[in-house]
Symmetry: C2
Subunit: 505 residues, 2 copies
């Protein structure tokens, strides 16, 4: 990527723009308004990035030189762009009209309806990674639309996770959804077995969501309760598939379909809009600009919406698992940085925590500041709207303060240098449609930046070594292997685990 | 800091050690075991950092040249080391024996007991930043020791936060604790007013925790229910004070005191232990080594303990708010980087999310891997212990895999370069004592690295500009000011907030 002509020009552009302050760039209203892009009520404001018209031109040239359009076409055409696994990218088909109108979806919706109409009080999804983060995040995001049973998510092999959830449930009224692509995921199958023991054959029992239906049936799930999905659906892109079942049980099939509609609208936009107006393309280019030309190693995602508090953790998997690679899709070493660290928490809490470092620290961290303009789902009496206006004021105030800073004060500790970039992403209200559209935006931003970086955004070989190592450690703990090959201090810790000391603090 | 002789030598050391792989360093058992340090059952294993004996010597020389011992002495002696606010550092006094044996503590414990013995079902703490993150984290960490009413935490001015908690509570049996040092914090007072309206004079009402008792009384809290603390206690260091009241109500005063005892034990160790064996000093030196000499811009904290899931968010405030500064304690511009981005989530979930990037991404992120060796508080029937062994195996396996990597494979996407550092921090079990000791460790690591960086770790002027800006935006939204001085796109967004469009996605 960095060997392109555009990259050379962008390196010069970065040096040139380094001499301009965002305060001055924002003074040009025409420039700033040209950096706002919309899709329906979704508004992406890129005016607080260190860019001007020439920068965008050069970034679009970079996209052209690195073949972004061709890569997108190949993906949409169903080519096997996930080369290391020989797979096409199929998650967008999960939210396309033909699927929502098909028999499989109707069967899923009917099952969800049955659960919603039953005496089931609690639904516990047992899954980890992509089988957890996406659905858990959406269940929280759309909590005010939830009118079904309580939905819980258990992922960790730490037994405290399942234990503490079960402590609040009763076997007679608790349904378990075991979600695992292979139905062999260590954490998930261990928790599923503990859950089955706890239920002891009472109550509504177990449902399986998997790409390995025979394995689920062999494990003991009734055929009528095995919902399978295409093996080509990657975990972190899977919430649109049957992996979304717990969400659907919580909010109902109609609202779930509206979420899919919102995502599909973003898909159409991504496929059809000219790059100069294409939200995922422009945001993906900003990721690359900030990372590779301005040198920012981290990127923050701050939702000013308490119910979107799990979005940063979901986006963290999405972007870092997709683009946390050091070799190209063809297997060649890369000469440039790939994903930044993606992190964040909900606003306004973040302002009273680490925003000190974002305003006055030595490093610059570009932010996505997310804001629904209206509140949703506040049915109790009270003047809730006034607080929402304060929320909105804070989101905008932070973006302005980070960019503009303060004049030089007499006291250095009160000085704000400003010149710190952010995107402000807003929409009318956090409806299922708006949330679906927002999540698809993040998926496509990830794909665009991955294409620019030249990586395969759809595999995740980097999780394998840890699994192999964990099995070896487990064998040592079980006494079926010796700690050969582990470091001395690892071996010492294994001894301590195996033979508890009498130490007391 | 970088102008010291030790820093020059450390720069050379970083280049020299860059030629050694952690795989090789770990092969030297004597070196590795010398990098393990203990306090009671707390074990801090630094052997997987890119250091050798010479490195530690040089880092201790850096501490000497930058006057760490003198700064610590001044802090312990009660000097006004928080210069910009003219304050001493007093939070350690909150967990010292004289306080726990004093009348104030007895009165607080008596109140907590009364609540625990009453018909109150729900306690809602309303506070933000340091009045939220610490107590919320401890309530989750010690959930299995909780035998009082349910404890909730509401921080965000987003009305959905309070609303969704109230939706599960009843006014007759809900107590509110309003926690704010000044009793003027915008988010907190707004939520407190909404809560008071909701309660409508019914039920157990409001308690105030504040350093401004008169303001709380003027707001309407009965004198007998105002618990005040010293203004010198900084928010992010305050959970040991009366700010811990919701924790105490949840677990009882005896367990709370044991948590204070654990923290006090760490204080004694920090003050008395030689630097070469001093856990906070050594961990603080690792922060500086990784940040300023090896150039790592982010630091991850991964607790392998689901109940410690909020610890990263607490540590994020602690370290980033304390040390996210660009000027020295004396107000001079710094010539070196300060706090990295601090972030993380609980293991094993993290392994199925962003660990791909930690293993195979282009950037190296040093980690703290935290592990209690035994499970606690699993009272339901079931074979929980076996899962905990798998949890422990995974924590250790990740540390080894990150450090050692894999041999060169034929396929580049399956290759793990290794050489990625981590600390493994373990203890017997997550008791109140162990948690108090662990949290004090993090506090002191922050103080040590802050002293090395030369910043004032006890002020937070960087949050002020955002507050001023927010009030200005609120005035525009209220129609009492014009948007002069805001950028064009900010002004456009304000128009949209003020006059909802008919846009539908």
């Amino acid at each position: 990527m960095l060997s392109t002509k555009a990259a050379t020009a962008l390196t010069q552009e970065a040096a040139a723009i380094g001499r301009l302050h965002l305060r001055d760039l924002l003074g040009d209203a025409a420039r700033s308004r040209a950096l706002v892009h919309e899709l329906g009520d979704l508004r992406v404001d890129l005016s607080r990035h260190k860019v001007r018209a020439e920068t965008i031109e050069l970034l679009l040239a970079l996209a052209a030189e690195t073949g972004l359009a061709g890569k997108m076409e190949a993906m949409f055409a169903g080519d096997l762009v996930n080369r290391s696994e020989g797979r096409a990218v199929v998650h967008m088909a999960q939210r396309a009209a033909p699927r929502i109108e098909g028999d499989g979806y109707a069967a899923l919706a009917a099952f969800a309806d049955d659960v919603r109409d039953s005496d089931i009080c609690d639904v516990i999804n047992i899954g980890i990674g992509g089988s957890d983060l996406g659905p858990a995040m959406v269940s929280a995001a759309l909590a005010s639309h939830g009118d079904g049973p309580r939905i819980h998510y258990v992922s960790n092999v730490d037994p405290a996770h399942l234990h503490d959830v079960l402590a609040g449930c009763a076997p007679d009224s608790t349904l378990f959804i075991v979600t695992s692509k292979t139905f062999t995921t260590a954490e998930t199958m261990r928790n599923a077995a503990l859950a089955r023991d706890w239920a002891g054959g009472r109550g509504p029992g177990m449902v399986a969501v998997t790409a390995a239906p025979q394995v689920a049936r062999d494990w003991g799930v009734d055929s009528s309760r095995v919902f399978d999905f295409d093996e080509g659906v990657g975990g972190r892109y899977s919430l649109w598939s049957v992996v979304g079942l717990p969400v659907m049980i919580g909010i109902g099939a109609d609202r779930f379909a509206r979420m899919l509609n919102g995502a599909a609208a973003m898909d159409s936009h991504f496929q059809a809009a000219p790059f100069a107006e294409n939200l995922p393309v422009l945001m993906g280019l900003m990721r690359v600009w900030n990372r590779n030309f301005l040198g920012h190693a981290a990127h923050g995602i701050m939702p000013y919406d308490q119910r979107l508090r799990l979005l940063p953790a979901w986006a963290q998997q999405l972007e870092m698992e997709s683009n946390g690679k050091s070799v190209s899709a063809e297997g060649a070493p890369l000469g440039h940085a790939t994903t930044p660290v993606i992190w964040g928490t909900a606003g306004t809490g973040c302002q009273h925590s680490f925003f000190q470092a974002l305003h006055q620290g030595t490093d610059i961290v570009p932010l996505d500041i997310l804001l629904p303009l209206r509140p949703t789902g506040l049915h109790l009496d009270g003047d809730w709207a006034a607080s929402h206006a304060v929320l909105a004021a804070n989101a905008l105030a932070q973006a302005e303060a980070l960019a503009v800073g303060s004049p030089n004060d007499a006291e250095p500790h009160r000085h704000f240098a400003g010149d710190r970039p952010s995107s402000v992403i807003s929409w009318e209200a956090s409806t299922p449609y708006a949330i679906g559209r927002l999540l698809a935006l993040y998926e496509h931003v990830t794909i665009v930046s991955g294409f620019l970086w030249g990586v395969n955004s759809f595999d995740q070989w980097g999780v394998e070594l840890g699994k192999v190592m964990a099995r070896r450690v487990e064998a040592v703990l079980a006494g079926t292997a010796t700690p050969d090959g582990f470091s001395a201090t690892a071996s010492d810790l294994l001894d301590r685990i195996a033979a508890p000391a009498d130490r007391k603090g």
